[in-house]
Assembly symmetry: C2
Homo-oligomer: 282 residues x 2
């Protein structure tokens, strides 16, 4: 029987969980305070967002490691397809540079939506694969892996053209680069009865992240109403067993966007609850 | 090459498209006026909602047929699983009686959400299959087929435990009744790269409906911001070809929930646009 009260070093904080100081949410903690609070609780790592890093990537990365933790990843490239994708790949390459500066082994890709002039997702997936292939070598030279993150299908249209792990794996295959894989987020995949097949197709070397939160029974906002683990209907132990059963051995990263609940709480209390829930329900 | 400017008799109105007189939306047209407006435009049929029918099922059904159309279906049973499902199956049987009274060959099932005390969707799907099996004979005796409608995964938790056609087919198989099949709605399945496999597993006899609308690039409301065909990113011709390629030969039913746009327009104008879009983009 698996022991789910395991070492907290398997746990990582995605700073979005603390409101990442965005749009008036969060307590305004600078990265240093987040690092100290995570280290004090025995976490294994942190995932940052670009907006928190600015020109301080090397400094912040070193600070995390000095505190005994790892920079687990960086969120994220700009969109690569869809109406809101910037022209060219310069910003994507700059995000790779930032991940390398931080010492983050994984940079997450949220793809952006359906490419203008096309319908559905398949044509956009092909364009996406070409653009991923065009930056994969640049990332590889800098020691960075690229994690394609499928989003809940409700984000189709303007935010994603990857709705399932199977979608992401297909684009990995099309991109054909060894440092391109998949990020698996409970919020986006909890409902997928075919998840195990998608994970098997990915294989252990291409599962580059596992993101924890919960799906609330009554989700009031598509983007900013995620639940803390245990407060929703996602079968968290089964999901983790599936991801680890497919060979993933990396950290579990907690990423809770919650403008009406968790982002309004004291960050210290949020971290304490997060650690407790990780021990008990994940 | 398929001729997509085909006979309008393949087109059916789901009255939800006119706001179905709900919560102050819609123009308050009684069923008779809806029937006359559809017949005048050459539509083949209408799908009603229970709240519009009351005790007049036989009268309204006869009126539709006298106008040269068919009652294509009835929306819908109460939830069968989840916190909001009524106790017992009496209301479900009453909805079957209403469908039979109307002469509607198909009654749609939106399943309801994750069963209390469980997590994820698989356990709820098993309970759902038992309850569907428990009403399937009653429906069969009354000439009514039951159409399990998978919903976009964003409706997981409180509204559905079926997220894909493949999910619905699996529950059909578990229920084991010959009059149980699947309803395929563009809004819910447009994103699914595995749709063709799900439709093939259903087979021609179990695809009981095809619902048209569009997925807007920027969907502002999960429930009530559907687009009219042509205004979004769903690949409507490919979707219809997939459904008909799997053997479906029934009507195309337009179902647009749109509280901020189409429900605020004159119903006559909505019907005219609907007919035009069906001819040109579906």
């Amino acid at each position: 029987m698996r022991d789910f009260s395991q070492d907290i070093s398997a746990l990582a904080l995605n700073t979005a969980t603390l409101g990442h100081n965005l749009d008036g949410y969060g307590a305004g903690w600078p990265p240093e305070r987040v690092i100290d609070a995570c280290a004090a609780r025995g976490l294994g790592g942190i995932v940052f967002w670009r907006r928190e890093i600015g020109r301080r990537s090397v400094e912040i990365g070193d600070r995390v490691r000095a505190a005994g933790m790892q920079v687990v990843g960086l969120c994220r490239t700009p969109y690569l397809v869809g109406r809101d994708a910037p022209a060219g790949l310069d910003e994507a390459k700059a995000s790779i540079d930032m991940a390398a500066g931080l010492g983050a082994p994984v940079l997450t890709i949220v793809t952006g939506g359906t490419e203008p002039g096309t319908k559905g997702v398949l044509e956009s997936q092909k364009i996406l694969a070409e653009r991923v292939a065009a930056i994969a070598g640049y990332a590889s030279e800098r020691g960075v892996k690229l994690a394609l993150e499928p989003l809940n299908p409700m984000f189709g249209g303007n935010r994603t053209v990857l709705m399932t792990v199977a979608d992401a794996v297909r684009v990995c295959d099309m991109a054909g680069a060894p440092n391109v894989g998949v990020a698996v987020d409970v919020y986006h995949v909890w409902w997928d009865s075919a998840l195990a097949e998608g994970l098997a197709a990915a294989g252990p070397d291409r599962i580059l992240g596992y993101h924890l939160c919960d799906w609330l029974e009554n989700t009031r906002d598509m983007l900013l109403d995620r639940g803390m683990m245990g407060d929703g209907v996602a079968d968290l132990k089964v999901l983790r067993a599936a991801v680890e059963g497919a060979g993933y051995a990396g950290p579990c990263e907690v990423e809770v966007f919650s403008s009406s609940d968790w982002w309004r709480r004291d960050p210290s209390a949020v971290l304490d609850v997060m650690v407790d829930r990780f021990r008990t329900v994940c």
